[in-house]
């Protein structure tokens, strides 16, 4: 199997699993307990928190809170801030956020909040000037994802945070860092970003664990009330094995950061160029350099995405699509639509996302097989004249 869907989830690193195993068996003590037996899990959490501090590039481990997933991190940040600033009822976000963020704002919109959704250009780049123009004194929150999950485009969150803080110091800045984590360095202490959420399973930890970075002066209400865990900000007995696992995954991600930025990027570029060269109806949905190094999004014109995925799956290749049919909803990807990708390519858009475990052989296999699949599938398409014209135009 060739796994090129690492923006959906990643394989748990064997080294991560090994670190977790003791806490799933013999080291089962509750870290809050007062006997020696609880020392090891308690110190394991402290170590993991320190690793997450380094992973975020934060100043202090007190700035790190463990959650159950990326969606919880986003909800904790957004709802926590809005609950503390009830008089401010304006929010700025983007049209291309992940549904866990977007739907949280839709929820607040129904409660009477005013939300501005900032658009992107054809390359998926955020209209920063528009964002700046929407900032008001009563803006409670500006919320921009660090990198987009479908296109990999990196948004200038540091610049946005600086602008926001210099014009409206009390406005909070939340950055959904789920797709940036482990793919690009995040030195939050050098920025004015207030909060960043991440999810462990996107960087080779298992599913069911996330984290939220919160700058010390940010006031939040907890999402889950109860015990004293996470300094009262997130009640519930700590998920020790998964916290340990994410700590290890964060450490490994930092160790591999250079590999990610060079080798993973090289393979991504090779895959991208190879498909564009070999497949006549392939169209790069965004080719800007300012993308996370593992992601490419390619539209195959006049062929539908789910059908492509099924045929890829038949030869053992896992990828994903922005097509309507794959999601069970009837609408294609909101991200690609915000970019204005033409209908001809919109429904046939495929995202390939690599990881440090992707090999040259994997990439070569896909480059070789994509034309074979496309040859078969374009034959089924009713748009034969259009395809013929495309073939001629591209010199195939």
């Amino acid at each position: 199997m060739i796994y090129l869907d690492n923006n959906a989830t990643t394989a748990t690193d064997k080294k991560v699993l090994d670190e977790m195993l003791p806490y799933l068996s013999e080291e089962y003590a509750n870290p809050s307990s007062m006997y020696d037996f609880a020392k090891k899990p308690a110190s394991a959490i402290r170590e993991a928190r320190a690793k997450m501090r380094d992973f975020f590039g934060a100043k202090d481990e007190k700035e790190i809170f463990f959650t159950s997933c990326g969606s919880e991190s986003a909800n904790m940040a957004i709802k926590g801030v809005l609950n503390c600033n009830k008089e401010k009822r304006h929010i700025i976000t983007t049209q291309v956020e992940h549904p866990c963020v977007l739907n949280t704002y839709k929820f607040y919109e129904k409660q009477g909040y005013e939300v501005d959704y900032i658009g992107v250009n054809a390359q998926g780049e955020l209209d920063v000037e528009e964002l700046k123009s929407k900032l008001r004194k009563d803006t409670a929150l500006v919320s921009v994802m660090w990198a987009n999950n479908e296109t990999g485009v990196i948004h200038p969150v540091e610049e946005i945070a600086e602008y926001v803080k210099s014009h409206s110091p009390e406005t909070r800045v939340y950055v959904d860092g789920v797709q940036a984590a482990g793919k690009i360095p995040m030195a939050v202490k050098d920025t004015l970003i207030d909060m960043v959420g991440v999810s462990g399973h996107k960087f080779h930890a298992p599913k069911g664990i996330g984290a939220l970075y919160v700058k010390p002066d940010v006031r939040l209400t907890p999402l889950i009330n109860g015990g004293h865990q996470e300094r009262g900000m997130r009640a519930g007995t700590e998920n020790v094995p998964y916290i340990v696992g994410m700590g290890k995954a964060a450490e490994l991600a930092l160790e591999n950061m250079n590999h990610e930025l060079t080798e993973v990027k090289r393979l991504r570029d090779k895959l991208e160029a190879g498909i564009l060269k070999n497949v006549f109806n392939a169209r790069l949905n965004t080719g800007i350099t300012n993308r996370v190094p593992n992601t490419t999004n390619i539209g195959f014109e006049y062929v539908e995405g789910e059908l492509i995925l099924l045929h890829l799956s038949d030869i053992g290749v896992c990828a994903s699509s922005g097509s309507a049919c794959t999601s069970g909803s009837l609408e294609p990807s909101h991200v690609l639509r915000a970019m204005g990708i033409p209908f001809t390519a919109l429904h046939g858009s495929i995202r390939f996302s690599l990881s440090r475990f992707t090999t040259e052989k994997d990439v070569d296999f896909v480059i070789q097989n994509m034309p074979i699949i496309m040859d078969k599938l374009t034959k089924i398409s009713p748009f034969q004249c259009e395809l013929e014209e495309l073939r001629k135009r591209k010199g195939f």
């Binding site: 539908e304 059908l307 099924l310 049919c325 009837l330 089924i380 009713p382």
Partner: protein, 277 residues
């Protein structure tokens, strides 16, 4: 991952009858590129028999599978037989489709209907006033009131969500959901009203059965050199006798059950049973 049946997998992997018939006698189209799926169906006729069918589909696995199996279902059938195929038949032939994918079978049915329209002329939905039948209810996916009505009727749909699964209507901006709900309510209120109607007297029933047999059933059987006689009505048991070529035909039981009985149930009384004597 969708839970596709083996048959769906087989048909999207190895679609049958892909392509175009250059001198096709009938061509049907459904869907659009913008909506994410579209289908072109080509039919070659010999008299009123479909001797060849091909398709071209832009769509997901279940859309390709629905188109592919549809061509297999109609080749060798007369136009009259093909006309009776519904989206439900297509889905059943595929061993079922996930609920959210039922609209793929509907698209197959619509392309077939579109092709046959060129032979039979425009079908008129007797249940809907002429001026509203073609009214677009869902502007995102271009779905008409007529299409929604048909989907409700054929598939026994009760909720807006089901209508969306079968026709896509209401699946994008969602603004037409209220109208869809109204159509569902109108349809089902009408069914309740029909059910509560005074039952027919035995004489009325006999007259109606005779009329339907004479006008709608007998002419069909005559085309194949057979015929039917209405002998008696015993409670809800309609006793008939097949004559001509139909007599002794090995398919006579099928003719009685799937053709004669279903028309009588539809037109006269849903409790009727047909018996051959």
């Amino acid at each position: 991952m969708w839970d596709y049946s083996e048959k769906v997998l087989d048909h999207y992997r190895n679609p049958r009858n892909v392509g175009k018939i250059d001198n096709a006698d009938l061509i049907g189209e459904a869907g659009s590129l913008a909506c994410g799926d579209s289908l072109k169906l080509y039919l070659k006729l010999d008299g009123n028999k479909i001797v060849d069918a091909k398709f071209q589909t832009f769509g997901c696995g279940s859309a390709v599978a629905s188109s592919s199996i549809l061509t297999e279902m109609i080749i060798g059938k007369t136009l009259d037989e093909a006309k009776k195929i519904t989206n439900k038949d297509i889905a059943e032939e595929l061993g079922g489709l996930p609920q959210e994918k039922m609209h793929c079978s509907v698209m197959g049915h619509e392309a077939l209907e579109d092709a046959l329209k060129k032979y039979y002329g425009e079908e008129v939905n007797e249940d809907l006033p002429q001026d509203t039948a073609d009214k677009i209810v869902c502007t995102c996916f271009n779905v008409t009131e007529n299409q929604i009505w048909e989907a409700i009727k054929i598939n026994n749909l009760k909720t807006v969500e089901e209508v969306t699964n079968y026709t896509k209507a209401g699946g994008a901006c969602g603004r037409c959901k209220g109208v869809i709900k109204d159509i569902i309510d109108t349809y089902w209120n009408k069914q309740v009203a029909e059910a509560n109607k005074e039952p027919l007297t035995a004489t009325q029933k006999i007259l109606k059965i005779s009329k339907v047999i004479e006008q709608q059933i007998s002419p069909e059987l005559q085309k194949d050199g057979g015929d039917i006689e209405f002998i008696d009505l015993d409670g809800n048991k309609v006793k008939v006798k097949l004559t001509g070529m139909c007599q002794g035909c090995k398919n006579s039981r099928m003719t009685i059950k799937t053709f004669v009985e279903s028309i009588l149930k539809d037109k006269v009384d849903k409790n009727l049973e047909v018996e051959q004597i």
